[in-house]
Symmetry: C2
């Protein structure tokens, strides 16, 4: 995988748009694990794109607790909101050594001036919104066992799309504390739930490697439906055409 960001867009953008994005994301900088890529208020005004590695978004709560609200995988934008509005509303930190492309403000302006790219960015945002909705629904209605299973399903699915799953196995460099912060449960409880899932052979773990013997079974258990991740760009009509019958 050369440029996961541009590749994600597939052929939904024009050749010129693709070239521009390739150019803007050519230069990447390495970021070590557990390093802040985006800080809530300060930090660089650039737009950051994760090219390799892994990160998550989190929000500080009073009392020093953290809430993890989503994961950033190769090809994902880190801080579109901050680039557009000047305020991210959350931080992004790596969990693994990563490569990040920085698009400076003028480059960002250049890309957003292209309608095709702007629309693609909107769709990225919609996907993330769908993710958040899914997490929220899960958090509110499901038991912790299913929630953890759901998280694993989502990560497996997305990592798979990023080509990071080999033989049904993928690396998950998260601590149990962090899993807990993602699900709203304590690290102690994560540990117990994890053991239960292992006991039922829903998952197997070797260090930081996770193996899911029967993804379909885990997804059934987690009530996971990947539809919310499939907001594919090519599912978008060029622009809704007026040949559809207009209604009253």
């Amino acid at each position: 995988v050369q440029n996961p960001f541009v590749e994600k867009l597939g052929d939904s953008i024009s050749r010129e748009d693709r070239e521009l994005l390739l150019r803007l994301t050519r230069r990447t900088v390495p970021v070590e694990a557990r390093q802040e890529v985006v800080r809530d208020r300060d930090g660089s005004p650039s737009l950051h794109v994760l090219m390799t590695g892994m990160a998550y978004r989190y929000k500080m709560m009073t009392g020093g607790r953290r809430a993890i609200t989503g994961y950033v995988l190769p090809g994902d934008l880190c801080d579109l909101t901050r680039a557009l509005t000047g305020n991210a509303g959350h931080c992004v930190v790596t969990v693994a050594p990563s490569m990040v492309a920085e698009i400076n403000p003028s480059g960002f302006a250049e890309m957003m001036a292209r309608p095709g790219i702007a629309r693609a960015m909107l769709l990225f945002t919609l996907t993330e919104k769908a993710c958040l909705r899914e997490w929220l629904a899960n958090m509110g209605q499901e038991l912790s066992e299913q929630r953890l299973a759901h998280l694993l399903c989502e990560l497996r699915h997305r990592l798979n799309a990023a080509g990071q799953v080999r033989n049904g196995e993928f690396l998950l460099p998260l601590t149990q504390e962090e899993m807990g912060e993602s699900l709203g449960i304590s690290a102690v409880h994560v540990n117990r739930v994890l053991q239960k899932l292992k006991g039922d052979d829903m998952i197997r773990m070797r260090g930081r490697a996770v193996l899911i013997p029967d993804p379909a079974r885990l997804e059934r258990f987690a009530e996971f439906d990947s539809a919310y991740l499939e907001i594919r760009l090519n599912a978008v009509p060029d622009l809704p055409r007026s040949d559809r019958k207009p209604e009253i």
Copy 2:
């Protein structure tokens, strides 16, 4: 308030864009309370904008439970995702008699072809995303008392922006069941928490009218910071200009 949708955009869009949106949302249809405005899969391909009334987004979970993931207030879009991708991922239902503007596909195409409007839609989406992130963080980390308080703070704040708060009092036509579905707690528990908040004089209720004697106090208690709702369009630079110093 004539057209809450267009008014929300303020002077961040051009006069022509404003005229177009006014024209597209001129004709509205009444929708009774507890009526579906958006169904997950089927339904009209139009984009719906709530002009008056109130609605919420929900997702059906297995077992017949519902998860409410957000509220739609006057001026808000109901189904931008569905208009763009063909799939909403959730339903929208009114809680009060409402007026809804329907923008048919060709009208939607027309508006999205204007860069200024497209950018405004992106910002709407970002605001909603910020909301979801806030809910998610709250759901995961806070106790039900604070969560309920937080929900009330958000609704007060947004209803206030929509001019629906008079003397610190506003109408909240929600059942306790629905509040529970918004917070991931049972209706029975909502009732008890509500009583506790009343007991501390955090809120007062007369039927469906909610009065918050001291908003600042409730917000402190709920750890509510309205910043996430303030993604004002005018906070956006015309487009990031290149007169900022580019960094390495």
